[in-house]
Symmetry: C2
Subunit: 236 residues, 2 copies
DNA sequence: TAACTTTTGTTAAAATTTTTTAACGCTAGG
DNA sequence: CCTAGCGTTAAAAAATTTTAACAAAAGTTA
């Protein structure tokens, strides 16, 4: 069964998560500091780490960096509302996902499930194809099809979709998107981003008012929906 | 040494080519009809066939098709001025190159050399990269660099360049380019084609008046220059 | 819950870029 | 020297992108 390491300086959080995750069938390790967490990580090589960013002794970023050095790349960041900037930074550094405190256990479980499924599906991590039976994207061929019909995207729309594809199922922060689509030096890029998200939804979503593919992450960025498993005969 | 088969109903042409090509060190077979040519082709599997399109018994197209069936894909079409349309058709069917009669032996030799070099260089036939030290094109990455500096192409310019790339060093007919860049139904596409050739030259050529890369083939189409061998340390 | 704040979504218009169209000069080939 | 086809230029048309303003929704606070 999968191993999960929780690192947080709040003992109440550690206890809550340990009890909950164990009822879900995970093997759980907890650590009250970054240093202790790294030791446990080194020893047990957990499949997932839940990491609180605000910790006194060794700060969350340093801990995150060292976890990656150890070879652990599945990290979900936990952050308080007030240091959302830190979460953004961690996501841009490559964290898998983020979770706002106070922790909603249903959301947590959903994210864990998604993450494990993704890791198994695409361990190669080359996201140049998307296919869920309705929407079919091929970045190499530069084609987008919706229920068999080709969708025409403008160059900017295409770049935006590519950036989201690169991290399918994971949040991509506003800043990261803006940097990758419009380039580094860009004032007021959020306006354009919102507009192009709108355009993409008009072209890709069945009901643009209730987006299914292109999802907003409030205050953070956007996420392209993880494709559902697709029947084998449709996969081609 | 390489084998060349010449198929033409004009005995004078056969003799001329046989003598000339043998002085160039090739093993030469000649045939006065398509049927005889196919037999020789089957028997000797020549590396190259020079095929006259206008022949009485079996017409050039039929011969060309059967040569391909045999597995011979290096065919240079020879055509008289008056049936240029046929040459265009043969090129669109995949012939390697064409030669106008009366035959200029210098041009013939140049084309043969180019063709053999190309066959050896890119036997895989995947032309997604172009690099001669100055101009660097990567179709997959969708980037074009000139002496290290990125060149910005519009979508149409890019499609045009891609079509020429697909057949580097070979002629691509006007009609084929227009079909691939602008789509099938298109009236007066030649005007746009000429203009976009102009744009490409402005962006790629050192001296757009004396094009080096994007070459016109009078009455037939365009050709992207075969890249010269590039020093190994520049190849990356 | 109600009021408020922040962020996201939508719309419209202006600005820019790309593409088309058309006219005409130039050049190669006959 | 004539003609067909190529190259160039300019202007109009269409598409794409930016900008700005405002509406709607989500999150926060009392």
């Amino acid at each position: 069964m999968s191993k999960i390491l929780v690192i947080d300086d709040d003992v109440a959080v550690l206890q809550l998560l340990q009890i909950y995750l164990e009822t879900q069938g995970f093997i759980v390790f907890t650590a009250k500091s970054g240093r202790a967490g790294l030791e446990l990580a080194w020893e047990h090589m957990p499949n997932l780490v839940l990491l609180d960013l605000v910790m006194p002794i060794m700060d969350g970023f340093e801990t995150y960096r060292r976890l990656r050095d150890i070879g652990i790349d599945s990290v979900i960041i936990m952050s308080h509302r007030q240091d959302e900037r830190s979460a953004v930074k961690a996501l841009e550094m490559g964290a898998e996902d983020y979770l706002r405190k106070p922790i909603n256990l249903d959301i947590l479980q959903a994210k864990i499930q998604t993450l494990f499924r993704r890791k198994n599906l695409y361990s190669g991590d080359v996201f140049s194809l998307y296919n869920d039976g309705h929407l079919h994207i091929d970045l190499d061929a530069r084609t987008v099809m919706l229920d068999g019909a080709p969708v025409k995207l403008t160059p900017t729309e295409y770049r935006l979709l590519s950036v989201l594809m690169r991290k399918v199922g994971r949040v991509v922060t506003h800043e990261e998107i803006i940097k990758d689509v419009w380039g580094a030096g860009k004032k007021e890029g959020l306006g354009s981003l919102k507009l192009y998200i709108h355009y993409l939804r008009q072209k890709l979503e069945e009901n643009p008012r209730k987006p299914y593919y292109v999802l907003a992450e409030w205050g953070i960025g956007y996420r392209l929906k993880e494709p559902e498993e697709v029947p084998a005969e449709q996969a081609a």
